[in-house]
Amino acid sequence: MVSEIVINPVTRIEGHGKITIYLDENGTVREARFHVTDFRGFEKICEGRPFYEMPGITSRICGICPVSHLLASAKACDELVAVEIPRAAELLRRLMHMGQIIQSHALSFFYLSSPDFLLGMDSKPSKRNILGLLEKYPEIAKQGVWLRKFGQKIIETLSGRRIHSSDWIVPGGVRTPLSREGAEKILADIPKALETALNAVELFRKTMDSFKSEMKDFGDFPTYYMSLVTKDGGLEHYDGKIRILSPEGKVVADQLNPSKYFEYIGEAVEEWSYMKFPYLKSIGYPEGAYRVGPLARLNNVSHCRTKVADELLKEFKKLGRNGIVQNTFMYHYARLIEIVFCIEKARELLEDPEILDTNTQAKASLNRREAVGVVEAPRGTLFHHYKVDEQGRIVWVNLIIATVNNNIAFNKAVTQVAKKYVEGKRLSEGILNRVEAVVRALDPCLSCATHAIGEMPMKIQLYDHSGKLLDEAARG
């Protein structure tokens, strides 16, 4: 009599997923799985479209991080037409990217995860959300709303709209320059943004103290780490080369060409999820598990390249062994440090006089038949790989989405938390919420992950070893 607990849908994440917890004969947890239950098929549906439509189509993969898809896609298109984009265009693309990371990280921290640690893992489910937070801690909720808005407004100032700015980022650069007034408007908000972000860092540090005993089983395990880095190992989101860190914290590969990702990353499938399982080819599946995203990036780099973020990074690295922090809960901390970095970087970009240059787009026609575009999306390394025919029509696409890189880690993390808390056959709501909370720490974007439809919530099921459904989390 094996049992299975199902949490369906998992809530306060982006996309549609569920968790199944499998028990052995004694009712103890054997394994837990994180399933993604939707799929759209962008790798096929884009076929036959002209390549220059790809930024517009693929940005529809996601409403949270459309800018990442726009950038990865436009970079692939820059390659197809074989141009170097004007420097102003690169500065502007980078600025929009910073705006997006700020808003996406603020969404993850304030809207999705902070209700768990500020209101409590066991607090009333009907209140455990941003509106409940507003009732109890109105100042914190308002700061979160404001910080997200600050990021979105950068995107809006550049492109005229906040989501799907697909007629602005284009192959060869960007469509329109930035006005002086626009630049000044963003610059004027930077001190408040920095202060708000640093308040959030302080808030998180206090949370860490009260969460200490729970934290050691909150997805704390060794894996490899992957991210883009600059030539000298600094934090980089738009360009750069791939670095891979071993579970012991050694750099095992550095300055790898991101366009040759298929030489070192493989993709596996499991029948129970639409989300694929990438792994390091040299290590094999599933031992070659690696993590990406804010935690991986901060583990991988030696420095951030901006003043305040560099001070925070030094403190951050002290939390781990050999300078690497393996606890999944620390994704939250890394995310906040990245917000600080992005605000500082946005100021630096805006203070570069060339950002106002009006030459922002190099125009050319098709010159290559295959290209790869890669960026660090808020959730990790994002790959767009296209092949086109002689007329520039798409004939083949492969996408490795940031969230998907973490798939093996998602499953390890939910298994660890379930093993710690789930006992017997009946579950408390708060226990299930802890299993979900570790998923939230990794901040999945499941619409991106399987290029799936819309944003819907997620579910946990408990099965015994004969496959009998014992319990299902149904809140509401």
Partner: protein, 159 residues
């Protein structure tokens, strides 16, 4: 996300509504006797089909929210392919895979075609846009909460 782009206006809205089911709240089952439901996305698989029918049954006013819900949009691009639902799966899980090339089976089955909401249930209001603008969302919700019919003429655009 565009819903959250109402920024501080979401907080004002919070005073007028009770949020009972949402990706940003923790309810697991769609409740009964719901006044207004915004449904985004096209209907792509069997699980979504069941959920949409349940939503219709339990909701007074159902709003198709965004272009995918209104007419299928990018999600419905697969409908142009012959046998689209099989081909999209084949590409992702067999062709573009290096280990265990297999199409997932223990997952909700894709429908043969991605459907707009009104191909499945009766839709009361349509809110187009990819995404609909935050101002438009705010206007429509406030009109509906006041018991008025929102007038969308000259206020929206597709895409």
């Amino acid at each position: 996300m565009s819903f959250l782009d109402q920024d501080e206006k979401v907080l004002e809205l919070a005073e007028k509504i009770e949020l009972v089911y949402s990706p940003i709240a923790d309810a697991k089952d769609f409740p009964e006797n719901v006044d207004i439901t915004l449904v985004e996305g096209a209907v792509g698989n069997e699980e979504q089909l069941d959920l949409l029918k349940k939503i219709r049954k339990n909701t007074k006013i159902l709003v198709a929210f965004g272009d995918c819900a209104v007419h299928g949009n990018v999600t419905a691009l697969r409908n142009c392919l012959n046998n689209g639902s099989e081909k999209v799966l084949e590409r992702a899980y067999v062709e573009n895979t290096t280990f265990n090339k297999t199409i997932p089976t223990q997952t909700p089955r894709l429908l043969r075609k991605a459907l707009a909401l009104n191909e499945v249930v009766k839709v009361d209001f349509y809110l187009p846009g990819c995404p609909p603008s935050a101002d438009l969302i705010n206007y429509v919700l406030n009109e509906l909460l006041e018991g008025r019919t929102p007038i969308l003429e000259d206020k929206f655009k597709y895409g």
